[in-house]
Subunit: 273 residues, 2 copies
């Protein structure tokens, strides 16, 4: 999906909500836990319930890999379902990959290749290994790399805020250096909602890039603050909520409750746009 | 595998060679490319040919993921085969993972859990997200996290050498901070052979940790230099070679040629130990 298509979708749905499909079997409704294709059926119900309120779905690979190869089959069914819908959605593999150039090419093929099994629109990447670990993800038309800049967890303070080479913080250096590796048409950044007060600094360096913002909801981030400091004329934000939506209920009403939570966020977003 | 078991294995085989199973179908011998379970059969032949000269096998997840779910089935068969042998080997998932705590727990389960499909001994992890992204990998007995410190690629110079908070370089800060997250019994570091001259600095901060050293061979690193600056009384090194061994020939003699290359490295290692 191109930048313009994403912006159009955001304006059509009046939403910049990304729903995180971080499926943990233990938190799924009991009737789906042991069902054949239970994870896919859970995802399908969540997608059907939320797609009018969301523009993106982010699958956290860890949760699927923890279920073994069967988990990846469930993810593939989920992606096939998303691709089959006449309502488009931007799809993100939250995989935090990144390796030397010839290896990153293989990861790009695994997740972004239109002929591949998953065919995601975007993939999250860690910046530690530098340019050649990131650039292989920018070569597919209409596909995106989403580089970690400032993450939502406590461990973000271990390295990301260190002053480097003068006055900048490491995450600012990552933003600045990586501006040379891609464009606002193929590169986004992860900026955690729990550090929304840093969005002004982020926007000073990356004024036009879309930001994928996790951490609203269960992790404590505020949508209002994220919008205040992060919104651009093109919206420029995808705000993710995972647990707050998909586990709003673990009863048979899980999809209705997910829809309610997504709708609430969409209404706040609509008011801001 | 515990530290003591690894050290014993190194002394028994008089080797600290790690063979990188980075299987690219296009580089495999023609007769295996289209064969049923061709990737597994390729790996099995390489393992059989090299296990007397090597103590470890490192599977680069990107290459398997690029083949889709079928690739992961081939990896599972490879791991099952390694676990079935009466000759032990240390197994590494070169996966460069790392995410917020509850997500890293899922990655740890996927790769290290003895009940899981892969049951690797160790997993490579990127440090950018800090303590809570790394510590979930240290909780399994006899299992290891291998943290990226100094990588072998050109992009390593983008961030890893930046001076942070005074005189230290970022990779030195990563080494220093992470010393609090694990012990030499459950934490190793990746230090690229192409930066062997930095091993003195690495050893000043991490005198006892094992180092996984990629980049000997195709990437240009020197085994002699790595040993001169990196060896400890407990050996303290696992030196990886991938392409130089597994693609020594792409003919029907690939396994014999792999054995020759591995044997050459083992002899150099034996002389050093």
């Amino acid at each position: 999906m191109t930048r313009q298509q994403l912006i159009n979708l955001i304006h059509t749905r009046r939403s910049f909500l990304c729903v995180g499909l971080d499926v943990d079997k233990n938190k799924m409704p009991a009737h789906l836990r042991e069902a054949q294709d239970g994870v896919f059926l859970f995802n399908k119900s969540i997608i059907d319930a939320t797609i009018d309120y969301a523009v993106a779905y982010k699958s956290n690979l860890a949760f699927y890999e923890a279920m073994g190869i069967e988990g990846l089959l469930q993810l593939k069914k989920t992606m096939d379902y998303l691709h089959s819908l006449d309502k488009p959605a931007f799809t993100i593999a939250d995989a935090k990959r990144g390796d030397i150039g010839n290896t990153s090419q293989q990861y790009a093929k695994a997740f972004l290749d239109p002929q591949g099994e998953f065919n995601f629109d975007a993939l999250t990447i860690a910046p530690y290994m530098g340019a050649d670990s990131v650039q292989p993800f920018t070569v597919y038309d209409g596909k995106w790399v989403i580089l970690l800049a400032l993450t939502s967890n406590k461990g973000a303070f271990d390295f990301q805020f260190l002053p480097v080479a003068g006055q900048k913080k490491l995450f600012e250096q990552v933003l600045e250096t990586s501006q040379q590796w891609g464009t606002p048409d193929n590169m986004m950044y992860v900026v955690g909602a729990t550090k929304a007060d840093m969005l002004t600094q982020v926007r000073a360096i990356a004024p036009h890039n879309f930001l994928l913002v996790p951490g609203v909801g269960a992790q404590g981030g505020s949508l209002e603050e994220v919008c205040r400091y992060g919104l651009t004329n093109d919206c420029g934000l995808l705000v993710n909520s995972s647990r707050g939506i998909i586990y709003a209920s673990n009863g048979e009403d899980f999809a209705e409750r997910a829809a309610e939570e997504a709708h609430k966020l969409q209404q706040q977003m609509s008011a801001t746009l």
